[in-house]
């Protein structure tokens, strides 16, 4: 047998080519931050995760959009002269859906890394604490923005199809978008802070719901009492103490929204400035708290 035939069978086997070094691009910190942002944003809708984890966010997204689609259908069919609901009012009416979404997704976004102690793996890489917090915050806010802006877009497109006045609708749509941007930032901040201090996911979900509903319940009750006593001034100020009424106050004062406060007694421009200051302080404050939280869990 010639010696060549001995080596011949080796050609069909898959060779272990050994370790290969990587000499390609290393895109650094900004790229890592962007990757973390997109991974978190996709994760917030269950993309890139199991089928099971897609169910809830997608269902809530559907629930959020369905009323808008119905309103549009009604408006087109009845040749109405205006939409049944203002753009700015939409998120206020569907606040429960937004709250549920936040409660489900904020813990998913931050509690997992804390609970399973994956954080050191991030911080032993080029990204730093601020990159992590910025990416997670931006991803949660963007996810909420998608959730709240999509129905507004449906309303707007529908309104144009129904041949409603273009200028009025565009203005309303723009005001609605500004309002949901603020809402997304505020809710993302609060949700992430609550989730980040409760590493157990179940507790995180409960805590987020509690923060949103208890504060809203308390504020509405006290506002109701104030209305019964004809103390309309107080109604405006009490709204400062829960996230959704805070947004309501800001848009009533500056985005020509109709207030959902009892009796429609929203804050005036003067009180509105206080609302904006509190709103911005809360967003900045949640960012600061998140930064502090992650300083502790470093390596």
């Amino acid at each position: 047998m010639p010696p060549e035939s001995l080596t011949a069978p080796a050609q069909d086997v898959i060779h272990n080519i050994g370790y290969r070094n990587y000499s390609g691009a290393r895109l650094g910190r900004a790229y890592a931050r962007r990757s973390l942002f997109s991974q978190s944003l996709r994760g917030a809708y269950g993309l890139g995760r199991s089928t099971k984890s897609k169910v809830l966010p997608m269902t809530l997204f559907g629930v959020m959009c369905a009323p808008a689609a119905i309103m549009v259908a009604v408006a087109v069919a009845t040749k109405a002269t205006k939409l049944p609901l203002e753009y700015t009012r939409y998120a206020i009416v569907l606040q429960a859906v937004i709250g549920l979404y936040l409660a489900a997704q904020a813990p998913q976004s931050v509690s997992r890394d804390l609970r399973f102690k994956s954080i050191p793996l991030y911080f032993s890489r080029p990204i730093e604490r601020v990159d992590y917090v910025v990416a997670k915050f931006a991803a949660m806010a963007s996810a909420l923005f998608l959730l709240t802006a999509a129905p507004l877009l449906i309303l707007y497109v529908g309104a144009l199809l129904a041949k409603l006045d273009f200028a009025t609708q565009t203005e309303g749509f723009a005001q609605g978008l500004v309002s949901v941007v603020l809402l997304s930032l505020l809710f993302a901040g609060l949700g992430l802070v609550v989730a980040a201090v409760t590493p157990r996911r179940g507790f995180g979900v409960a805590a987020v719901i509690a923060v949103l509903t208890i504060s809203y319940g308390a504020v509405s009750t006290v506002q109701g009492i104030a209305l019964a006593r004809d103390n309309t001034d107080a109604i405006g100020w009490i709204g400062l103490f829960s996230p959704i009424t805070l947004i309501d106050g800001v848009q009533t004062a500056f985005l020509s929204a109709t207030s959902a406060f009892p009796g429609g007694n929203g804050p005036g421009t003067g009180a509105g400035v206080v609302y904006v200051v509190v709103l911005l302080a809360l967003i900045a404050g949640s960012f600061g708290l998140l930064m502090r939280r992650y300083r502790k869990v470093g390596l």
Binding site: Y31, P120, R125
Partner: protein
């Protein structure tokens, strides 16, 4: 690779590192110390995540105080504790970590497949990590530290929680990281014995101070001893005692071990420890056994325990301080 110069880290109540100066060359380096000796603090400083109180350190020629980001791009880190989410597969997790290291998406996927294969994870890499054994999880942790092809990896207690077989496999893998992959390794452990087999250089720290830094060969020579076990014969009813006598006569330092814990498992109570002074020690022992007509059951390098290094270092330290006084 790594150089520190009187590196200190003080917390309000504890001094974690105390004027540590050490120079680590490329290769596999073991960092040994008891729990709380300052190993993890040192790693944190080397990754540029925690500023040193005083002194300076460089990793791959980069200053840890100012170039932390550049260091972390070229260095891999495997933490001691569990750090893997159970609900994703090893592939997904390592791809994500590769992207966090700055690898473009395609490269991240290719490198992940390669790296997982190299650490010995095959079909199971598509299953959720939650169902993995401890050994497999350790491999995933190692893979995420290697996926971006670093020049240096810092492995914090990689053999923790593994059974003896898993431990040996992990140590062999660590050895390969250097020999086959060309990546330098700094590996911590509280077991000197296992590092001795794997490392080129061993650094021992205790209470944040450097006890000793030397190549493994020097280590073995300095503290080496030989465990010898013999049978009894008709001529020598107590073979062990006879051997001790013969070896002592030949000028070697000998001590019986009796039923010491580490040999008890082997079922023998007749082990003699001989201090190795050079290559001729082995010949002397062999000749002594033959002359006595005993059967040689075994003759093996005894593994050192960290306690011994501490004892020798302590006595050296005491000598040093009495000199100073």
């Amino acid at each position: 690779m790594i150089a520190t110069e009187s590196l200190s880290k003080r917390f309000p109540r504890v001094t974690a590192l105390d004027r540590l100066s050490v120079d680590i060359t490329p290769g596999v380096t073991g960092l040994v110390g008891a729990n709380g000796a300052g190993k993890s603090t040192l790693i944190k400083i080397l990754l540029g995540l925690s500023p040193a109180t005083e002194g300076r350190a460089t990793v791959l020629g980069l200053d840890v105080a100012t170039e932390g980001g550049a260091i972390r791009e070229r260095v891999g880190y495997m933490p001691e504790h569990d750090c893997l989410p159970p609900d994703v597969s090893a592939t997904e997790f390592v791809v994500h970590m590769a992207r966090m290291s700055g690898l473009p998406a395609t490269a991240a996927r290719e490198r992940t497949a390669d790296t997982l294969r190299h650490v010995g994870l095959y079909e199971e890499r598509y299953r959720p990590i939650g169902g993995y054994s401890t050994g497999m999880k350790q491999r995933v942790k190692l893979a995420q530290a290697l996926v971006h092809d670093p020049q240096l990896v810092l492995l914090d207690e990689p053999t923790n929680g593994l059974d003896p077989v898993g431990r040996d496999e992990m140590l062999a893998l660590i050895r390969r990281v250097h020999t086959d992959f060309g990546i330098s390794v700094l590996v911590t452990s509280h077991l000197l014995g296992e590092l001795e087999r794997t490392c080129d250089q061993v650094v021992v720290i205790d209470g944040g101070k450097l006890l000793r830094s030397s190549s493994t060969a020097e280590f073995t020579q300095a503290t080496g001893s030989l465990a010898v076990e013999v049978t009894d014969s008709d001529a020598c009813p107590d073979g062990t005692a006879a051997l001790i006598g013969a070896l002592a006569a030949a000028g070697l330092t000998v001590q019986p071990v009796g039923r010491a814990a580490e040999f008890a498992a082997a079922g023998s109570g007749h082990v003699v420890l001989v201090d190795v002074t050079g290559d001729d020690t082995y010949d002397t022992v062999r000749d002594a056994v033959t002359d006595l007509g005993l059967g040689l059951v075994r003759m093996e390098q005894r593994r050192h325990r960290i306690a011994e290094v501490f004892q020798t270092a302590d006595s050296a330290h005491e000598r040093g301080s009495s000199d100073a006084a």
